[in-house]
């Protein structure tokens, strides 16, 4: 069982950046007004940010990281590790982390690589950056997460289009011998690989000029091609309702903690119905479970840090908190972490003018 601790690692700053353009789901005219009302109420997404064509996740992460480094007064030459977690990279090859190392003017002695994960990416990312830094020589590291999901979502797909928003985030991590351990429980079920999938454009289904671009009717209100995100709502829903609660409860039990020891539970922002159901399963007060869904939608691996920046900034800046973060979805991949933050740097939400 992948339950483990990472010692001596401290989050010292979190920032987030979203594109300027806002899409209001009340203007989503692909479906009827009545259907739109039910949909907005159920998924809880009123507005979300849409990147313009040509803007990449790395552009958003670059702004988030650049501002965070400045606010922290970090010496860029001392940043020895950059991890970029995304499923919307700049190019098929090379990895995007290298481009970010260059844009951020980091040293050539800096490790930089990508990890391909979505909803669970932030929690997984903390475990990777933490474990590498806990070996003792790497003192400063950057975890950059996010996705641009709106560009490959079909407007004529009511099951996906209204849900997703774009965002990029940066988290600054330092080696600190006084820091309490981060505690993780990470899991995977690859049998559900097709529950959230873009089928074509990889090596399995190479891009095909005839079949990849062709729009198919999947069901009423759902038309898409094989480059679009395909979401099996009920499959993802059942998976999340089945797996998230035991994952969190096992983690708490293993380290002899209870819900009362946690100040805030920050969940991946999947959709309101799913997040509310998980909250009720765990019997948590709404005040302990912040949400950014209403204004930003589901932002994949950015959703946890984005929610911290938009909903908890005053708290993380001015106090000591014990947080439980939990990400779940595409993969299928899920995981939770319990960690402490104390007076971290948290710049106001940044806007990318694309």
């Amino acid at each position: 069982m992948a339950i483990f601790q990472v010692p001596n690692i401290k989050i010292v700053g979190i920032s987030a950046c979203v594109p300027e353009a806002e899409f209001d789901n009340n203007n989503y005219d692909w479906i009827s007004e009545k259907e739109r009302e039910t949909l907005i109420k159920t998924i809880g997404v009123e507005k979300k940010r849409h990147a313009k064509k040509g803007t990449t996740t790395s552009d958003l992460c670059n702004i988030a990281a650049d501002n965070l480094i400045n606010d922290l007064n970090w010496n860029r030459a001392e940043i020895d590790l950059l991890i970029f977690i995304s499923q919307s990279r700049d190019y098929i090859i090379p990895a995007t982390a290298g481009l970010l190392q260059e844009k951020l003017s980091l040293s050539h002695t800096c490790i930089a690589f990508d990890i391909s994960l979505g909803c669970s990416g932030y929690v997984y990312g903390l475990s990777v950056i933490g474990s590498m830094m806990a070996t003792g020589r790497i003192k400063k590291g950057l975890l950059l997460t996010g996705d641009i999901s709106t560009l490959n979502t079909s407007y004529q797909d009511k099951s996906a289009f209204p849900l997703f928003g774009d965002a990029g985030t940066a988290t600054a991590v330092e080696l600190n011998n006084d820091a309490n351990s981060m505690m993780f429980n990470l899991q995977t079920d690859g049998s559900g690989y097709d529950a959230i999938i873009i089928p074509d454009g990889g090596i399995r289904n190479f891009a095909n000029k005839n079949t990849s671009f062709e729009y198919h009717k999947i069901s009423d209100g759902i038309f898409r091609n094989n480059f679009n995100i395909a979401l099996d709502g009920i499959k993802v829903f059942n998976f999340s309702l089945r797996e998230v609660k035991p994952n969190i409860n096992k983690l708490l039990q293993e380290f002899e903690l209870s819900n009362d020891d946690i100040d805030y539970f920050v969940f991946h922002q999947a959709n309101k119905l799913m997040n509310e159901t998980i909250r009720k399963q765990l019997k948590l007060d709404p005040e302990k479970v912040p949400s950014s869904l209403e204004s930003f939608g589901n932002t994949s691996s950015a959703s946890i840090p984005l929610t911290i920046v938009t909903e908890l900034a005053d708290k993380v800046k001015n106090s000591k908190l014990t947080l439980l973060l939990s990400g779940f979805g595409v993969g299928l991949s899920w995981g939770s972490v319990i960690l402490e933050t104390e007076n971290i740097v948290c710049p106001k939400l940044l806007i990318y003018k694309d």
């Binding site: 259907e35 039910t38 949909l39 159920t42 099951s159 069901s219 709502g233 009920i234 499959k235 829903f237 059942n238 309702l241 089945r242 119905l273 799913m274 509310e276 159901t277 009720k280 399963q281």
Partner: protein
């Protein structure tokens, strides 16, 4: 599992259904929009209320309120 209770909770869960208007032999599609969104709301409801998991195929096969009750009850007993 109590049938009256089961029906009452469904009436509370869906705004489109008036209180005390639903009965066991009602056809789901006649009473409210039995679409994918409402199916998800129903899944979430029975998960929290009875701790049972229903698949898409099982939902599609359910035509009446009674079908839903039998489905949920069969799983509820297994988990008890």
């Amino acid at each position: 599992m109590n049938i009256t209770d089961f029906i009452k909770k469904i009436e509370e869960e869906f705004e489109d259904i008036q209180p005390n208007s639903l009965s066991l032999n009602d056809i789901l599609e006649d009473k409210f929009t039995w679409d994918s969104i409402n199916a998800l709301i129903f899944l979430a409801h029975v998960n929290v209320e009875y701790d049972v998991e229903i698949t898409a195929d099982e939902l599609i096969k359910s035509v009446t309120v009674n079908d839903l009750f039998v489905l949920v009850e069969s799983k509820y007993q297994k988990t008890e």
